[in-house]
Symmetry: C2
Subunit: 375 residues, 2 copies
């Protein structure tokens, strides 16, 4: 039985300058907290989310027993990140569609829905917004910042942007930037959305429609890249949906994998905002801390102070172990304290969200050691 | 300077029964031949094409110096498959959009354009149609049948369906069937096409439109799977299209890889037929000779008589070397004569179309030996 989580909202009237040159003001961040902040305010752990997640990291909502947070297997009482010891904060990023200010909200300056006019936000902007939230919560220094995938990029960026504000960073299934192939998959998904006639240049809200065709395609592409070839073959293989003989049709579902992908696409298109999809994939594309240091990740990480745990998964071909090792190497170049675990797991990129005994044990052990520093 | 190729057309009034239960009659196959059939009719090589290719395998068309065939580096006078010694036949598959009867042609029975009513064709059906073409050309036995990717599947299927009709089979960058991931990519591409409002259930010809949005997305996905991560990073990396700083836009082109993919998608949507795309990807999905043998490829290949050359490429993640090795193993289980070359090439699946000294040398040497048998 999971504990009850309650979303909270914090309004920020002052303008937040953004990396792209614009700024955003009068915005709200949705967040949740679990556990209790200790008297020294030293046991806070910030959890950053990836593409399709939110501030609802752990626990369930009152009366909704199936509403577990997206990292509920990792965070909670007695779990690897133990909320009996840590005060855990989940925050929904700016531009998302789960509670924080995003493209479907009204621009306070114009009175119109933002839509495609929502400013482009970057990983660095999200970190700045999260830092202001921590200021308001009275937290000067985090025990740890953690995240997986795009959330790991935020954790890494935290250590660069605010080197004094955390003691540890846990970066799971992440990368120091996207490869050309990663960007390519994002771009195809974006084109599917943008060229959907129901997108209306991003102002579809005013037309009372949603570019569901594009969102479905985007999600289907995403799912392929989240899974490993191995796990797809094991779960679906070449299994037909109906019977043992194909129906010989170009448009009907024949294979189980098709049924799975269409279902995932349909579900996603019912709740995810198309402009948010564009914004978040662009934040992924743009993240590249080495860029301002002549392409040197080592130089980008020269001023960090945190200690690190990096975790990658053997079958993750989206953010392959080699990408985590790049970060490890750059940290070692800077004589930083870094632990690295490469988990042999079959589930591809998705592994970072799944129950895996060795993975959970590594994170548990790392946080047990952080807890010892608290006393 | 390449030689001049001339497309030819052969009409087949009699019905061809198809694997899916339907049949097709009054159809035409477009084909080309290069070199001269010897008096013994023993030097014919049939070349089978993959998704986006045709009967125009080698040479150029009169007055069109840039119109090289898709395997012009492999086939021609003095080339690995030497048309001074071999009589090479390229044939466009049924359902394609390059000259043979396909969905954009008129159904002779109804007087309407086939569109989505064009029957589903399989690799086995293509092989049957090619066999009838050879009958009409008076060729009882091929010196070799060869193809890459989906073309390799046809070459493999030839040796199962007509074990006496060829002495050699050259199967390049192919697989004994698609993996779940392969099917998944095909399905996303098909969904992009089918859900394009301009598709009109496959009868878009009558509406004077083309589902270009869907075709563009399909082609972009395809291109990602044809290239290796390595070659994408080398060719495009994270290079921006304009200048050194991003423009911070969700819809404009920022990265060179985006520009490349959009260009490929645009080009493709100008000439490729949407129904053909569905048909050809389905032929890929359905191909699975082991299925009728309880999943045993060894049993599926029990009656083959050909000698084989198999070639795979180290960075091909679409049809990985392991898939070629499955075929090699099944052939060895049957005590067949098989040569296998795994070429260390950086170009991913595309490598089978590209100039690579070791690859060309392997094919040349194999065909030199075939030529020795001719005398």
């Amino acid at each position: 039985m999971s504990f009850i989580a309650t979303p909270q909202f914090m309004h920020f009237p002052e303008a937040l300058p953004l990396q792209g040159g614009a700024s955003i003001q009068d915005y709200t961040l949705a967040y949740e907290t679990y556990g209790t902040l200790n008297a020294e305010r030293s046991n806070a752990v910030l959890v950053c989310h990836a593409l399709n997640a939110s501030h609802h990291v752990a626990g369930v909502y009152e009366g909704q027993p199936k509403s577990e947070g997206w990292w509920d297997n990792m965070i909670g009482p007695g779990k690897p990140v133990d909320t009996n010891r840590f005060f855990v904060i989940g925050v929904n990023n700016l531009g998302s569609c789960f509670g924080s200010t995003g493209p479907m909200h009204t621009h306070p300056g114009t009175g119109s829905v933002y839509g495609a006019d929502f400013p482009v936000v970057t990983v660095e902007d999200w970190v700045d917004a999260q830092a202001r939230l921590l200021d308001r919560l009275g937290i000067t220094q985090l025990a740890a910042v953690m995240g997986g995938s795009l959330g790991g990029m935020q954790a890494l960026s935290w250590t660069i942007q605010y080197p004094e504000r955390m003691r540890h960073a846990v970066v799971v299934a992440s990368a120091p930037n996207l490869t050309a192939e990663n960007i390519a998959f994002n771009e195809v998904a974006r084109r599917a959305i943008v060229t959907d006639p129901d997108f209306h240049g991003g102002h579809f809200y005013a037309h009372g429609v949603v570019p569901k065709r594009g969102l479905r395609i985007a999600r289907m592409i995403g799912h392929i890249t989240y899974l490993s070839d191995d796990v797809m073959n094991e779960k679906f293989g070449r299994q037909l949906r109906d019977g043992l003989e194909p129906k010989y049709s170009t448009q009907d579902i024949e294979f189980q994998i098709e049924s799975y992908l269409r279902h995932q696409g349909d579900k996603f298109s019912d709740y995810f905002d198309a402009n948010t999809y564009l914004l978040i994939t662009r934040a992924l594309d743009y993240f590249d801390p080495a860029l301002r240091h002549g392409g040197s990740l080592t130089r980008a990480l020269a001023a960090v102070r945190a200690r690190y745990l990096l975790v990658s998964f053997s079958t993750d071909w989206r953010f392959a172990p080699a990408r985590s090792r790049e970060i490890v190497k750059a940290l070692l170049d800077n004589h930083r304290d870094v632990a690295y675990a490469e988990i042999d797991a079959p589930h591809g990129h998705d592994a970072f969200l799944l129950e895996d005994a060795r993975y959970m044990a590594v994170v548990r052990s790392y946080f047990d050691n952080i807890a010892k520093e608290l006393v």
